[in-house]
Symmetry: C2
Subunit: 222 residues, 2 copies
DNA sequence: GATACCATTTTGGGATACCAACCTGGTATC
DNA sequence: GATACCAGGTTGGTATCCCAAAATGGTATC
């Protein structure tokens, strides 16, 4: 795998995740080609990869950036609950809990001066890194992929300070239970956290749907 | 997506799954090109897709058919246990249980005259179709992908009649509990089935490892 | 003014040409 | 005989060309 190919893929993914290309927008291979100064071969490789990540999809013969799909977000929440809880239970059964400190430090790195974008990223990485601790590559990838699919929606969500603070408290509670190897308690907290996040997310987007569409973002109802 | 591209992908996948190309074997884009009468563009697309399915991988600059990896098989079992149980619990909560009859009919379609290959296929489809009933696209895909990754290994497994019969009994017991909406019981049966299958599979392959390597199949130890 | 129709352009899929890196095999040197 | 080295072939990565199909836009017809 070459440099150019990885670059096109990475840059295009970042543009999509950062909503610089809006959900539902059409993509032409020729536009990408010109935008990144690559030829069509790496462009097509990047599109194929991003398709499996769910970030772009086919629209007849062409390509579109995947719209935000509320029904899909709900299904992803169920999916990630299954895999994240499984991963967390594995982690609870491990002797060495020192890696948890690293994750706690991630949470500590955010304070009131931290830019909103960073909170967003750390909030996702918390779940990804927590899943990595399980040592199971497939559970880890599943969580990472799910978070990627949720990423744009979470960025669009209007979250007030209290919701953000509550999420952080929940994260810490999950870590505390995991550190004590209280698998059932940790699993219960994580499930509740995921379900709560999903509800707030879907509610927020459904309420904002009109505004989002006005900004040119395709949002499919649940 | 065109005809040629899908065909190359489908045919190559079938050759790999049928072990017509052995685990660990090197692949060159030019060989595939000639073998299927396609040019490198669809070949490349097929390889990229199969890479995400875990059937082929990179070997430095080139491509190889993924070896059978016993450690990976164990991890996949944990992964599929999480997603299959989650899917089954969803299905148990549904009112309409008529779709279960279709799956039961799949099992009925196999008898002592059925070729081994068909037993193999139905054994996988049972789990895939059961997951589909959950209605959750992501759980379904996760199960389907996991079964794809397990497929070659299960084909190599030396299974005696009793093991095969036991698997069928377990499948029927799972369906019965699901039909009665006994979620906990169904989940327990499914978990036990998956763990048992994994143990038999890994044990069988580990015992046969020498013979498999002699046949030219790369088998990585756990 | 609406609509059916046709020429033009655009687009993605496929094929091919080219290149740089890498492997390979043979040869020259010690 | 061992080894260093070089030439030729092979391979994946990239760029580019061609094509059929689909979209587009303008025009003629009613």
């Amino acid at each position: 795998m070459s440099q150019m190919m990885q670059n096109v893929e990475r840059q295009l993914r970042e543009m999509i995740l950062a909503l610089e290309i809006g959900p539902g927008e059409r993509l032409t291979e020729r536009w990408i080609e010109g935008r990144f100064g690559a030829s069509r071969t790496p462009v097509r490789a990047a599109l194929l990869r991003l398709e499996t990540e769910g970030l772009v999809g086919r629209d007849g013969r062409g390509w579109t950036v995947s719209p935000i799909n509320l029904a899909e977000l709900e299904q992803i929440a169920v999916y990630r609950e299954a895999v994240e809880v499984a991963a967390l239970r594995l982690t609870c059964g491990q002797a060495d809990k020192s890696a948890i400190d690293v994750i706690e430090a991630m949470l500590d790195s955010c304070d009131e001066n931290t830019p909103r974008e960073e909170w967003h990223r750390v909030g996702m990485d918390f779940h990804i890194e927590l899943a990595r601790l399980s040592g199971n590559e497939f559970l880890f990838r599943a969580v990472r992929d799910a978070m990627t699919r949720l990423s744009r929606a979470r960025w669009l969500e209007v979250r007030d300070e209290t919701a953000l603070g509550r999420a952080w408290l929940e994260h810490r509670a999950i870590l505390a239970a995991t550190r004590l190897a209280q698998a059932d308690e940790a699993a219960r907290l994580l499930s509740a956290h995921i379900v709560g996040s999903r509800d707030r997310l879907v509610t927020s987007l459904a309420n904002d749907r009109r505004g989002l569409r006005a900004r040119g973002f395709a949002v499919v109802a649940a």
